[in-house]
Amino acid sequence: MSNTLTADPSAPIKKNYLTGLKEAIFEEMEANPNMVCMGEDIGILGGAFGVTEGLQEKYGSQRVIDMPISEACIIGAAVGMALNGKTVLCEMQFIDFISCGFDQIVNMMATYHYRTAGEVSMPIVIRGPAGAYSGGALYHSQMNESWFLNSPGIKVVCPCTPSDAKGLMRAALRDPDPVLFYEIKNLYRLGKIEEEVGGADAIIPLGKARIARKGHDLTIATYGQNVYHCLDAAGVLSTEGIEVEVIDLRSLKPLDMATIQASVAKTNRFLAVNEAPMTCGFAGELVARVTDTCFEHLDAPPARLTRMDTPVPWAKALELHVLPSIEDIVREARRLVKY
């Protein structure tokens, strides 16, 4: 990975997160003639962020549908297509707008397989740009995964690397169950995380966490852009002799408890970090599960660091105030290790 100007043709090609997603979507559209994409502005425009750029030109406006601004209908129609044999990828222009299709998700799509005692499964992926730390304010910053984690029948995924974006998107599109796919918009084109993303067979199974950094003093479980905050914090802590193990969950449901447990058995301390509001958020869920399954291993109370129970405000200082920061993670890690 030399940095010289003469390109090495055999050098691995590094791609960004958005390209990872895009490749999975294009390759699955190619491989699966029964796949349909729906969303607002995904065709002519190619999506607000360009994730589906070129897709309609290639696969036509019947399979890549520019929908009216009707989130409930997008989901409902996807359910109908799935009922009639299609695999459907739905875009929410921002994941925040998913609230407008909420009923169709939790009461129609999520329950279909259950209600029909397995007659009808719902191979639907709902994807959309998510996450704060970007000045998007209340309606362009949400991480609202908790709503869906408390609604039985929905899998939830959140990759933070280009190869995971590709591999998990492919796995989601091949999964028979509905998957909510949280894309971190701040990572879409982030140069420093570019990497090889694998070919048309790259797949990362849902439910397998990734150890992003090894350590033995504290286990941090996190996902999305907080993975990078935690890694940065781990770097700082390492200079103090504290070695943190950072687990990138990648998939929240199904959840890789085995990896978490093995880590906590080693570190005896646990911290969950995420950017959703605290109450009834997934960080609390992780604390409850660790408490339940690792109690005897714990030398400190399992803790969580989350967004405060507030919306995401606009002004930068306010936004950062309510979100977990690298400093917050460092401080909390120190507290737990010293406990």
Binding site: G76, A77, G80, A82, L83, A117
Partner: protein
């Protein structure tokens, strides 16, 4: 309540003087009457079973509204889809009945399966996991309903979108109470269907009440068919007590849809025979007058009884000479409260058919408790 047609786009389509019903044979006419008996007897039977404490859940009677179901289903192709809701229980086993009540190839649920559902047994197509009308069958092209009113309209649109992608020509009929047309998703789905000219026929069963709320508090116009105007699609009004008028209007809509012209709405004016659900009969009787202060709820029930769809159909069959006046009086189910009818008021083959379902259901097992935890996901739980 004259049936009116008002369609900005259909123009010449409706100009034809020959109505779909004019192509029905004598056998068809007799089959339609028989189906009205079937639907009525099914409901009557459920009401009686419920009163005997043999059923759980709320019963939303389809009594008096059967012409809508029978008339709309009669001309469908096997490949067409339907999406019935709470007041449409008979539709589940009556879809595609024209092909023969028991042909295995028939794309309708068997009476045994449907009764399995009503009796909350393991033989229910959904293994009694959701209640009452909340079933369906992909195999039989019946969309699985939920409680959320109007919630299956976008699903229906998706079903036929997929069918069209596959080169099919299926039409989907969705059934809806007039009250449910106020839901946002009704609008989103019809708009989508109109944009893509999807073959979605929206049937509005206007029985003048949504639970305890009368028409004028739900909508600002008299005819719910007028909701169609906002989408530039045809909206027609049928006499929901006249099975042949329903047949006409729905078949026009179905042909319009199948020929690629797009969605439409058919409003069928009808009457509830009882309260909203069986728990509500007593309160309903006390409902205050509707906007037309001269008509009380009780009087409305009475109007319904006088225009019983069975009487209306019989009258027509007699007129056409397909039924003698004497034959017309043989089975006197019409105009009666469910509890006043006896099995003798129905043709024996009708009674037998439903009995088959009831017997199968009462003998069927209940699903084992563990099933409650199953099928959340396709492959076990995380």
């Amino acid at each position: 309540m004259a049936s009116t047609v008002s369609s900005p786009k259909r123009g010449t389509d409706t100009g034809a003087t020959q109505r779909p019903q004019d192509l029905l044979t004598k056998e068809d006419h007799l089959a339609v009457l028989q189906q009205l008996y079937l639907a009525r007897y099914f409901d009557v039977r459920l009401i009686k079973e419920k009163r005997r404490g043999r059923l759980t859940g709320t019963l939303y009677s389809s009594h008096n509204q059967e012409a809508i179901l029978v008339g709309s289903l009669y001309g469908l192709k096997s490949t067409d889809w339907i999406s019935p809701i709470h007041r449409d229980m008979p539709a589940f086993f009556m879809k595609d009945m024209r092909e023969g009540w028991d042909r295995p190839s028939r794309k309708g649920m068997s009476i045994e399966d449907l009764c399995g559902q009503v009796w909350c047994k393991a033989t229910s197509p959904g293994r009694a996991r959701d209640n009452w009308s909340h079933i369906g069958s992909r195999e039989h092209h019946i969309i699985h309903s939920t409680s959320m009113l109007a919630g299956t309209i976008p699903v229906a649109a998706g079903v036929v979108y997929a069918d069209r992608l596959n080169g099919g020509d299926a039409v989907v009929l969705t059934y809806n109470g007039e009250g449910s047309t106020a839901q946002g998703v009704f609008h989103e789905a019809i708009n989508f269907a109109a944009v893509h000219k999807l073959p979605v026929v929206t049937i509005i069963e206007n029985n003048f009440w949504a639970y305890g709320t009368p028409n004028h508090l739900e909508y600002s116009q008299e005819d719910f068919a007028r909701r169609a105007d906002g989408y530039g699609i045809p909206g027609t009004v049928a006499d929901g007590q006249d099975v042949f008028d329903v047949y006409d209007k729905v078949m026009e809509a179905v042909e319009y849809a199948r020929s690629g012209k797009g969605p439409s709405i058919v409003e069928c004016k009808t009457y509830r025979a009882y309260g909203h659900g069986d728990h509500d009969d007593d309160r309903a009787a006390r409902y205050r007058p509707t906007v037309d202060e001269s008509v009380t709820y009780r009087q409305m029930l009475e109007m319904g009884r006088q225009r019983d769809p069975i009487s209306v159909a019989k009258k027509r069959l007699v007129e056409l000479g397909y039924l003698t006046a004497e034959d017309a009086t043989r089975y006197a189910a019409e105009g009666k409260h469910a509890t006043q009818t006896t099995d003798e008021d129905f043709p024996p083959e009708v009674v037998d058919y439903i009995k088959r379902g009831v017997d199968a259901a009462t003998q069927a097992a209940t699903p084992p408790a563990e099933e409650g935890a199953m099928w959340v996901f396709r492959e076990g739980q995380p």
